[in-house]
Symmetry: C2
Subunit: 421 residues, 2 copies
């Protein structure tokens, strides 16, 4: 099989592909594996019930059924949902949106693929631009999304210690270098993999940099504001035309519906819709139609705030408690301040083995996590040991399993340290 440069690049041993393969093989190898690797959201009973109710309503309404299965949406996405969402966000936050400010995509990942390649890569005449990731570690799903090579530049964070076994990454504005070759700045908030919530002040700094250089600030709000709102600290939702805000219905409980939402200036939305038409003809209607009643009534915000956020916050607190107990005060270990999302980011300074080896040893012990080294797209290999000392652990699934998994992690880290005294 002879593949083009595109084909070869996208089938090379990409971080995300090997990760997916490994997850798949681990799953196939037996059902006693504790899955703390993926990003699948938990099942929130209230959400599940409400979605079932909405879908049952549609099955009893032939006109709704026809729209749900039988009519192509426009490339910009389902019109009614877009109108409802603009209304809600204007009502709640006064963002002054029109329907020209919103496009839907087949999931967030598809939105990032299009946005990154629109704003960076080959600009012709030998010019090449990059996406600046101001705060490594950052989501590994970005890493391979560039059609052009070396699409990302990342910057090491500042590390501040916020507790005896807790730290927080901060944007190192001194190290942040926006150049004429920077096509856009992108940050996830809350951050996948760390659960960090970049502060309002840091966001203002990034927005101001973007404005100075006349480039967009892309905010990946897949876990963020205003929904699904997996934030355990105070932070403000914020948008204006300098910002491309990417939201998702996945962590709300609809990952299988593949619905991404992009809120941006009309010219960005027009370009994105045009690219979407060529790549996908149209987006699916399912997610938009399922969420539309929740958006019209505003429930999407109250469910996020009163049900979904507390569901994950409790899981996070449980996970931290279990892990803290299991580690005790033996050896150096830190959890990134768990401010949002559904991950603990564990850092074991001076661990005698790499995070990749730790991952493999944990797999052998029946616990699947993700090695942290995948989460530094755009950061040149610079001998920084820290990037090989962290793992990402998902706490969205069953509490007892999560607890058992965390205890095995603690045990294994201690065993490794005992092996290399």
């Amino acid at each position: 099989m002879k593949l083009s440069a595109f084909g070869r690049k996208f089938t090379a041993d990409a971080g995300i592909t090997s990760l997916m393969d490994d997850l798949g093989n681990a799953l196939a190898s037996g059902d006693d594996m504790i899955m703390m690797g993926g990003g699948n959201p938990g099942q929130v009973p209230e959400v599940q019930e409400r979605l079932t109710e909405i879908l049952t309503g549609m099955t009893q309404d032939p006109a709704a059924m026809t729209r749900l299965v039988g009519i192509y949406d426009p490339p910009q996405g389902e019109k009614q949902f877009i109108a409802s969402l603009a209304d809600l966000l204007n009502r709640e936050y006064g963002w002054g949106l029109t329907e020209e400010n919103i496009a839907l995509t087949n999931g967030s990942q598809a939105a990032f693929f299009m946005l990154f390649n629109m704003f960076a890569g080959d600009f012709g005449e030998g010019n090449h631009k990059h996406i600046l990731l101001p705060l490594a570690p950052e989501y590994n799903g970005y890493a391979d999304a560039g059609i052009a090579p070396e699409l990302f530049r990342a910057v090491r964070p500042e590390i501040s210690f916020t507790g005896p076994h807790e730290f927080k990454y901060r944007v190192d504005f001194g190290a942040l270098d926006v150049t004429p070759d920077t096509g856009a700045i992108c940050v996830s908030r809350p951050t996948n993999p760390t659960g960090n919530v970049v502060t309002d002040l840091e966001m203002a700094g990034l927005e101001s940099l973007a404005r100075q250089h006349d480039i967009p600030l892309i905010i990946d709000g897949a876990y963020g504001m205003p929904f699904p709102s997996l934030l355990y600290v105070d932070a403000q939702p914020h948008w204006n035309e300098q910002i491309i805000l990417c939201l998702s219905l996945s962590k709300l409980g609809l990952p299988a519906a593949r619905t991404g939402i992009v809120i941006a200036a009309p010219q960005v939305i027009r370009a994105l819709s045009g690219i979407n038409a060529i790549m996908n003809l149209a987006t699916g209607s399912f997610g938009a139609m399922m969420a539309d009643p929740l958006v019209r009534s505003g429930e999407i915000l109250s469910l996020s705030r009163d049900v979904i956020c507390p569901f994950y916050k409790r899981k996070m607190e449980h996970a931290v408690t279990v892990f803290t107990e299991a580690m005790g005060d033996e050896g150096q270990w830190y959890v990134h301040k768990p401010e949002g999302a559904m991950f603990l980011w564990l850092w074991f300074p001076d661990l005698p083995v790499s995070s990749l080896e730790l991952y493999q040893r944990l797999k052998a012990k029946g616990v699947l996590v993700v090695s942290g080294h995948y989460f530094f797209p755009g950061l040149a290999e610079d001998g920084w040991r820290h990037r090989h000392e962290c793992i990402r652990v998902t706490y969205s699934q069953d509490d007892a399993q999560v607890a058992e998994g965390l205890r095995r992690i603690a045990q294994e880290v201690k065993a490794i340290r005992a092996e290399y005294p």
Copy 2:
């Protein structure tokens, strides 16, 4: 807004984008427009009922609901549906498929985007390959799908006259030039826009060429075999590892679900799934889960053969009768032999205005069609008048509207000829 080469190429005035815009604007301009431009399938009551029944069943089964909304599918697509489909096709046609031969995508268009760019475009070291379209006219949705420029090469067809007002395109094997720069051959069957069904003999010829040159033959079966089977002539479903067969649930009645199906050699499926992981993370579950019961029971074949095919065949016969009556024997006019799909391809030799102008005049008369000149991707402008003498007319919607639309087309063609005597 500064866009990359990718961004500029994909937001340029692409045929499909301007077409979609024009369709959208026409729709917005009032509801008395007769829509014969798009490719939306008709509403087949039996299919609608069966889908409603299936979906109602899922809403009553919490485990099914969880899978439908709450769990990411793997990048290759929903496993149960893939297994059921492999079983069905083996049972019916003995293709010897395993689950490694099938991948799902978010619609056919997404599959073609990935396949075309995998097998053609930049191959490094100055090499550039193309996709060979052996039978122009061909689907305009392909035209803009290349990341690299000039991705397609097309060949003029032979034209044979099959009735007083009927013709059929045939592959001109003498003109077909497969070179070392041909990455793949691609043909839609039935053909969008013409309703042509490339014969079994022609297909064998194309497959043999593909085999000789060790490149895949991509068959776009969105309207074809074994489902939804919009074929009004005899033809055989056929697959082996030389072939990449692309199917879709859209024309079966699920366009809003965006489910494309690719059947190919395992290494093609692996590559496609890897690219899909990077571009989309996962495919949606909705279409696969809706169709799974139909595939398991084999109903997808019986519904296609006994309900969907006759539904469109009757519409086709009605459309041809109406148009034949309306045109009479005045002036030269031909319908492409309507062997499949949901389009009439009308040819008006020596029409004094271009098909684009005819389209505009028809729009002013309240009938939306598609100018045929969009459907010659990869065919160099060579002064061939024929490509500006045809229009595509969709007959999938309401019969009375279709009849009225066809009468207005006949009237306008006669009026134009009267204007330029």
